[in-house]
């Protein structure tokens, strides 16, 4: 697919909801808008679809060459004129219509009935809905309902692509589409969506509050909070190096600490890891990307996958070696969720997912001492907003 059908969103709004968002989604790409409930993710989705009731909305929504919304030029297409395949959180299936009628409700000019029916039959087959055409929504399971909603959305975007060739373009929007189904069904639907992505060439925007879902499905995540887009990037990157403390909190990073940054030599710096309850400090070597001044207060996160765990009596080479006591090990099958407290800092705790086999081979139990060896690349330092002076 050409770069023509990219989605570009620039939205500013004050009333009734504060919005300040900027993100793009390439054709065939799936981005996830992630944030807590009430953060404005769904409002952004509704703004793309033309359903947001905000008379003062500013900005621009463009899909390929088509402008759907431009406050400067006074363009504001009605939802009917935007080619949007929208899967609602509650699926919004019409209870009085069959699955087939629900999915085929869309209006379209230029495509004959037979072509439509063939297309819809193809979509039903692909989504495993064949044989369920005549069922009403009430007679379908949660997963089946979700698929019917997906079929309706798919027909809308694929049909429109055919309607006028490449000039027409569409967007798939998914509003928490997995929140209403049980966990096993969700796993199936995840796999189906992943498979579907091979065939859908439109930009796809998924709204979710579930981080693991975003991580699993999206090419890029866009972190949304208070109507603002805070950071976007590939999931691995955003989760490993959040731009600031708020993003770190939002993406649910557990090992999120406070500290003080000092410059050392070109490319290197020291991090004073501070236990705010006692004032105790512990020094770690970190990379200096020349983005921070000497002596500033920082907040930092530790990437668990870059921490080695060694026996408490091991002889270790120089480096970020932190001796910890194992406070708790919660066995979760193959891995165990471990809470570790550095001996030098009594008031902070690390949470690491450790292989249960490794714990057994280390003969680690509650109260055991262990060495944690932290690679400098695993320590990601972020400025604290406003950078208030550290209390003595």
């Amino acid at each position: 697919m050409s770069a023509m059908a990219d989605l570009q969103v620039r939205i500013e709004n004050a009333q009734p909801m504060q919005l300040s968002a900027q993100f793009d989604c390439a054709a065939g790409e799936l981005i996830a808008l992630v944030g807590p409930s009430g953060s404005g993710k769904t409002s952004l989705l509704r703004a793309i679809a033309g359903l947001l009731r905000a008379p003062e909305l500013k900005g621009r929504v463009q899909v390929g060459q088509e402008c759907w919304f431009d406050s400067d030029q006074g363009i504001r297409l009605a939802p009917q004129q935007r080619c949007v395949g929208l899967v609602f959180q509650d699926y919004a299936l019409f209870p009085h219509l069959s699955a087939w009628e629900n999915a085929g409700i869309g209006e379209c000019r230029g495509v004959d009935e037979r072509g439509r029916a063939e297309e819809l039959a193809g979509i039903f087959g692909r989504l495993g809905l064949a044989g369920l055409e005549q069922r009403r929504p009430a007679q379908l399971s949660g997963g089946q309902r979700q698929r019917v909603a997906l079929a309706r959305a798919l027909l809308r975007v694929s049909r429109s692509q055919r309607e006028g060739g490449s000039a027409r373009c569409g967007v798939m929007l998914l509003d928490e589409p997995f929140s209403a189904v049980d966990a096993p069904t969700r796993q199936t639907l995840y796999r189906e969506l992943a498979a579907l992505r091979q065939e859908v060439s439109t930009p796809m925007v998924l709204v979710t509050h579930d981080l693991s879902e975003a991580r699993r499905l999206a090419d890029r995540v866009v972190i949304v909070d208070g109507g603002q887009t805070l950071q976007s990037g590939p999931p691995a990157k955003v989760f490993a190096s959040p731009r600031n403390a708020r993003v770190a909190d939002l993406v649910g990073i557990q090992n999120h600490f406070k500290g003080l940054f000092h410059k050392h030599s070109p490319g290197w710096g020291w991090l004073d890891w501070i236990d705010e309850t006692t004032g105790a400090r512990l020094q770690l070597q970190v990379a200096d990307k020349n983005k921070l001044d000497d002596g500033v207060r920082v907040s930092w996160v530790l990437a668990g996958e870059l921490v080695d765990i060694l026996p408490g009596d091991a002889q270790l080479p120089q480096g970020n070696n932190v001796r910890c006591l194992l406070r708790e090990a919660l066995a979760l099958g193959e891995t165990s969720l471990c809470t570790l407290v550095p001996e030098a800092l009594g008031g902070v705790a690390l949470t690491l997912n450790v292989s249960t086999a490794l714990l057994r081979s280390l003969d680690a139990r509650q109260g055991s001492a262990l060495w944690l060896r932290m690679a400098p690349q695993g320590i990601h330092i972020m400025p604290v907003r406003g950078n208030p002076p550290l209390s003595p």
Binding site: Q80, V84, F94
Partner: protein, 226 residues
């Protein structure tokens, strides 16, 4: 049994429902979806006939529509409409006092439709009108049935307004409920009984329709939430 009165009653009930249905539908949909500031005022005005004694409503209609009023005089001159002590006047009064009975159930039916259904239809390309015809109307029909049934039942039983505006003209404005009153006044208990029974049965039938519609809707909801 006063068959003439029965005919007037049924004609009045049927025409009232027929005239009110489109108006009630439009008003109910607007009330269910609007967040206009005028909405509480309109709702209060609409409910007024429910609380006011029918004689009060009849009294004012008599004043406004009578030949003595500007409106009444104008109507009598131009379209030649005499709205006091005539079937047409009775029909107009009936339409006005039945507004809440028609609008309320339909409004509730519209309000119970999730907003996302409408939006899903729009996003699928359906115009506002097509969404109304294809999605909203089929889903609110139990409300329509209830509105019509309540209107019919209430019109059959209306007494005060009929007497005030329509008077008691046989074949023109004498309805079953007024005829029943007449029979009791003249100690014709057998005639009164037959008409009272007829009114009870008609009202029961109407209410049965309302509850049947309500049940089918409740059953549909339960299925959907399953």
């Amino acid at each position: 049994m006063d068959w003439q009165a029965a005919r007037v009653s049924l004609l009045l009930a049927g025409l009232t429902a027929l005239l009110l249905l489109p108006a009630g539908l439009a008003l109910a949909r607007w009330l269910a979806q609007s967040d206009s500031r005028a909405k509480p005022v309109v709702e209060a005005l609409l409910m007024l006939p429910l609380l006011l004694p029918p004689t009060v409503v009849g009294f004012y209609l008599l004043l406004w529509l009578g030949q003595g009023s500007a409106l009444g005089a104008w109507l009598a001159r131009h379209p030649g409409l005499h709205l006091v002590f005539s079937f047409e006047g009775l029909l107009l009064a009936s339409v006005l006092v039945n507004l809440p009975f028609m609008v309320q159930p339909i409004q509730r039916a519209f309000a119970s439709l999730p907003e996302s259904l409408r939006e899903a239809a729009w996003v699928s390309g359906l115009s506002v009108w097509k969404t109304f015809v294809k999605i909203e109307l089929p889903l609110v029909w139990p409300g329509l049935v209830a509105g019509v049934a309540l209107t019919v039942a209430h019109t059959l039983g209306e007494f005060g307004v009929v007497l005030m505006v329509g008077g008691n003209i046989p074949g023109e404005t004498r309805t079953l409920s007024v005829a029943l009153y007449d029979r009791v006044q003249s100690f014709d208990m057998a005639g009164a009984h037959s008409m009272a029974l007829a009114l009870v049965l008609l009202s029961l039938l109407a209410l049965g329709l309302v509850f049947a519609g309500d049940r089918s809707r409740a059953a549909g909801r339960a299925l959907r939430e399953r």
